[in-house]
Symmetry: C2
Subunit: 743 residues, 2 copies
């Protein structure tokens, strides 16, 4: 199979997981003759899959289990053990773990349930076990999982309690649900999707999705990663690891639990705009993870990426023997951002050379009911050779009196073999009798076949979108110099120690933070009548002047606001006028607030909201209540690079206002991007920021910058590590243990 | 099978189509011994399906065909013939038709291709044939079709060239593509979807989708209608017929050809917002047609509606034996507007009574890996009895060592039988081995089974949405009295006769039209200095005054606009001021434009755009460039009822502004609805209106109305009948021929 999947980045393989996923010896604790027991099923499956290493059944009393010599304890086995699989009741697991540590096994997998998922006591026990194995330098999969599979011929391990043995292939599969793991294996077998490694991670007490992503990144058997996730242990670590992995191996994921989002108090605009699912979307978007809406889409996208290169462009060439499905495909392509281009004159000429007069020569090429393998072969080869086409879809509805769909499939395979290697080719066999084997028997290898035209379009569009993500520059982050960082910490630290654990900052503090990170803002300053002109000149014109007078509440009711001050004279006049008006209102003018007046600019919103699991999230959108109603905003996890910020604005549909729209000139997009990056740098420096609104940010003409006119910031204690306790520690530990050079 | 599908409305069955779809005798022209010929295939299929009526093979010379006595011509057959199926080369079809007319057959179906789809000559020939049969009072299916199927045991007709005989059932199927018709039959058989009638309509020269909708409405064998459409012959007729049919029998449709939308000149806001696909969406929305995105969804929704009642509410109760798929279902439900409510205490108590401690008793009910048929049965019955639940989903992942999925299926079926009849029940069997038969063997009859949880959620959501549509009041239309109609026609007729076939109306004409249909508008009126006060008082205050002076171009540059005139004195002062300013500018004030000043109100847009096939389309949205960028608008085909207009505003997300939002008070929603209805009445009266923008319409506080501040109207020749030539005529003809009383 030829794909354009980039070679893994050079680097050390993860030696810690290797003994677990590619063991040379395995102990099965709980192995049993009793049909129906988990231990029996696992031992049977390990044997029937033809495990290449040594098998040590552990049984308290039996001399043999299923004809294999059994040992009473793991530590009783003389040889070294890579993986101990534990399938005994939860209450016995701890002593088994102790024994495993004594035996110096290199990894354990706890199948048993009854831990964190079951009760508080179970959670405590799980924590204890995890601490124990970690102290001993042993990695742990589970508990509460259904096991793992490695199809590499030199391993052939099925340490699960399902006898399903999927085809060997290049897909690494992780399931956080044991039951859906079964479903995935079942479908992989039915769809002939080849799997390298399958891991049911269970409660993820130790080995997490992040660990497995790093393992697969360096695993030569794996080219595509498929995830079924229900939660993130450490989303910020995922945010660091997944993009590196995605750059060389596509990650396709179903993340369930959207409805667990719940409702959080919406005390600011930004928070009202967010929910847990936007955080997941933002994370996946940044990390280049292909999120599919359904399990079916997961299989479809994985089928494409595991056998075909990613399309270099959005242009699809279609060869079909019926008009209807060609139209359905064209519709589904356009909806998802792909196109069906016109073919070159030369291509049309070559097609005309052998196709009958009534064949359709526009794209889709319509073979009008034909079941000629030769027509399919030639049409695919010709259309695929056209420079105007980036990907090929062959659609076949078996006619009633067709000789043999196998022959058509073979014709498609021959046509596919003639294509440039970098162009993906897929097929749609519209028949409930399934896909003929011959489709994948040609030199091109496996050609994915979809049940319906729409599925093919969805998969190609996802692959193309991912290719675009890869082609995107990595981007640069904004890093705060030490003095700026100090300025930020000074404000935060002086406030966070106060009694109120969760508070909105005073305007002065909020503007201090913005200025510390270099966000331009229309900060109001207080001046006395005497120094008003000097202050005004230091701020710059035009200005708004607002009366400061003891007891004054409704300032504008008594003419206490004067706009459009364009020079020193205007300021002097305004002071006089305000003084007079205050006296008329029975007040005394004690000073004046001077604020830069930003009359121009397109209104935007830049903000921060916090997710209990994900921590701070950046949000941006354009101004206006309607946009807020319409949720036309984009979210990202900090740190946000310039490329990320640019993507955010591309995602916000109304940000096209920045290009100029219906008589209003363009806005300084780069300045808004800069503002987003600086706000990102601010929350990185001050994780205590729970919520923040810069609203509006006035985005002025190109070159004139973007100015925050108003700001609100809420701070609170920095998010604890309760949700992501040990992973971060583990990373460091991993780093230390990893050998210096490549292996 | 029990469903809550309403009984068909009383009315005459369509006797014209009955001889074609339920013939008692059939002639097959082109019947042949030659294996591989269409005529051979059709005769074979008619016989092997066990056609209940008489079969007359027509062959120029043979005495028998396939052992049946053959006739040389249709007119040679002594008995009367209900349906003549014609499968001879296109060039011979006309003489066959002549012969059929002579033989007084009641209907013909032309399988042969080579007509309008092939060439201009073919199109002319098709037109000629169609005129001939219509003159003779004969109905025609095709040409260029793959035939029809009727599974009723008293008919058993397979007059197609596919041997696929689908299960008998209550689904009427129309395919505009022969090839996709094949696919639909193939899948119906594989999914065990029961079909009443299947028709491949081909070129729709005579019998159209609209005719079949009317047939199925009155057909006791049909409860659900599934359509694959590529085009509309007469969308406005569809708009009249489909809602009547939808009220008693759901219509599920895939309409392809979105990408054929093309690009039309966008000379106004409304036109820029439209494309062909929004017209189709609007049509289906108004007509209660369930539009699915994919073929797969068409099957899924049809499977549900053909066997289950429509849910009365959005609340779904879930019984599953695994957590993961339960979460996927919950997610998919919430995304589509369904909910998973908490169950009542009594329900939880009853479940606790027999389920183990570790079972999940929140909704979804999680049987944690069980394969107990009794648990499924009892849990389904208990959850289904809860008043908080409107629909039930049972999810089953076969455990590895399960005794027999058939037994679990039987348990689910027993539980389903205990449910209230009005609550739909569906299942998800997450296994590639398919659905056990026992699932549909209980007294509840067929229980649909979906491949993935997401499909079940999609189908239930579509059914619930349709139920909401049905529950919606039919609504009332605005009808123009004769004098108003005359006033409209006077303006249009005086302009449309002018040389320019396509023109923007002068402001005065446009406002005349609005006033004729009673749309409140801030119409400017010209006054002289002398009568300004009188005119102002007749308009009402506040007002804006604009100077009229020969040669004056940039009125506001010379102070020629004065706002906020609140009484007669202000008007007098304004005239003096304008007079002075004009003289200062070297101009002469000859008059003044007085326009009501609408300072309050929420801005909305009401407009009209035209589609070449669909004719005029109404559009509404809220004001603002961002909304326009975001396409937050709703479209409908006129005539628009109050219920339709209300739906439009529900569809426009930013119309929530009308409820009051962030400090701005609410708007007069009813007045905006009234405006939409009156604009609808206007385009009904003046089909020459091709484009129209009321922008902005100021929607004032409740009770204060909505006022169009600006209006643009483009007129052109009324849309010809080129796209919808004969259907309208045919309706009248049908009406005349139909017997007076119910049959």
């Amino acid at each position: 199979v030829k794909t354009d999947v980039a070679a893994p980045e050079p680097g050390a393989a993860d030696h810690q997981l290797e003994p677990l996923l590619s063991p040379r010896s395995i102990a099965i604790v709980g192995a049993s003759e009793r049909d129906g027991s988990i231990g029996h099923a696992i031992l049977s499956n390990v044997r029937s899959a033809g495990f290449a290493g040594a098998i040590y059944p552990i049984h308290p009393s039996a001399a043999t289990v299923l004809g294999l010599r059994a040992w009473p304890r793991v530590s009783a086995v003389a040889s070294s053990i890579d993986l101990a699989v534990i399938a005994v009741p939860a209450r016995h697991v701890e002593s088994v773990i102790d024994d495993c540590i004594e035996a110096k096994v290199r990894g354990v997998m706890i199948i048993s349930a009854g831990f964190a998922e079951a009760s508080d006591a179970g959670r405590a026990m799980e924590k204890r076990l995890c601490d124990k194995v970690r102290s001993a330098g042993i990695r742990l999969i589970g508990p509460n999982c259904m096991g793992l599979i490695n199809t590499n011929p030199s391993v052939r391990l099925n340490a699960t309690f399902t006898p399903i043995w999927p085809p060997a292939g290049n897909i690494g599969v992780l399931s956080q649900s044991g039951a859906l793991g079964l479903v995935m294996l079942d479908h992989a077998r039915a769809l002939n999707l080849g799997i390298s490694t399958f891991i049911s991670v269970g409660n993820k007490a130790d080995v997490s999705g992040n660990d497995l992503l790093q393992y697969w990144r360096d695993d030569p058997d794996t080219a595509v990663i498929a995830l079924y996730l229900e939660s993130f242990g450490n989303p910020r670590k995922f945010a660091r690891i997944a993009p590196q992995v995605s750059r060389c191996k596509p990650i396709v994921a179903v993340k369930s639990g959207r409805s667990a989002a719940g409702t959080r108090a919406a005390s600011s605009h930004s928070a009202a705009l967010a929910n847990l699912d936007v955080a997941v979307d933002a994370l996946f978007e940044q990390a280049g993870v292909i999120r599919t809406n359904t399990l079916e889409e997961l299989f479809d996208v994985t089928a494409l990426l595991s056998s075909q290169p990613q399309p270099r462009g959005p242009r699809v060439g279609v060869v079909t023997n019926a008009g209807g499905p060609g139209i359905l495909l064209a519709d589904a392509c356009e909806v998802r951002g792909l196109t069906l281009p016109e073919l070159s004159d030369a291509t049309v000429e070559r097609l005309r050379g052998f196709l009958p007069e009534h064949a359709g020569l526009a794209n889709p090429i319509d073979l009008v009911g034909s079941d000629s393998p030769e027509w399919f072969e030639r049409a695919i080869a010709i259309v695929g050779a056209d420079d105007r086409v980036d990907a090929i879809v062959a659609i076949f509805i078996p006619p009633l009196m067709t000789t043999d769909p196998q022959e058509v499939a073979a014709g498609i395979a021959r046509g596919a073999a003639a294509l440039p290697a970098h162009k993906p080719v897929v097929s749609v066999f519209l028949s409930t009798r399934g896909t003929p084997d011959m489709l994948s028997a040609g030199p091109r290898g496996r050609i994915p076949s979809f049940t319906y035209p729409e599925n093919a379009a969805m998969a190609l569009a996802a692959a193309y979108r991912h290719a675009c993500w890869r082609a995107r520059p990595v981007g640069v982050m904004h890093t705060l110099p030490a003095d700026r960082l100090e300025a930020v910490r000074r404000v935060i630290d002086s406030r966070i120690t106060q009694a109120d654990p969760d508070m909105w900052l005073e305007a002065d503090d909020a503007f201090d933070l913005l200025e510390a990170v270099g966000v331009a803002c229309a900060r109001p300053r207080v001046a006395s009548a005497a120094d008003a002109v000097a202050v005004a000149e230091s701020i710059g014109f035009p200005l708004v002047a607002k009366a400061v007078a003891p007891g004054l509440v409704h300032r504008s009711d008594v003419g206490g606001v004067i706009m459009d001050l364009v020079d020193a004279d205007a300021v002097r006049n305004a002071i006089d006028t305000l003084d007079r008006r205050m006296r008329q209102a029975g007040r005394t003018l004690t000073g004046v607030l001077l604020q830069p007046q930003i009359s121009d600019g397109i209104e935007a919103l830049v903000g921060v909201t916090s997710d209990p699991v994900f921590g701070p999230l950046l949000v941006c959108g354009m101004g206006g209540v309607q946009v807020e109603l319409l949720r036309d905003v984009a979210f990202r996890l900090p740190p946000v690079s310039d490329a990320d910020a640019r993507d955010m604005l591309d995602e916000v549909r109304s940000a096209r206002l920045l290009d100029g729209y219906r008589g209003v000139g363009p806005g300084d997009r780069d300045a808004l991007i800069e503002t987003i990056m600086r706000v990102s740098a601010l929350v990185e420096a001050a994780p205590e920021i729970r919520e923040m609104d810069l609203n509006p940010v006035k985005v002025r003409a190109p070159g004139r910058g973007a100015v925050a006119v108003d700001v609100r910031i809420r701070i609170g204690p920095p998010p604890g590590d309760a949700d992501a306790p040990s992973d971060a520690v583990l990373t460091d530990s991993l780093r230390r243990r990893r050998p210096a050079g490549p292996v």
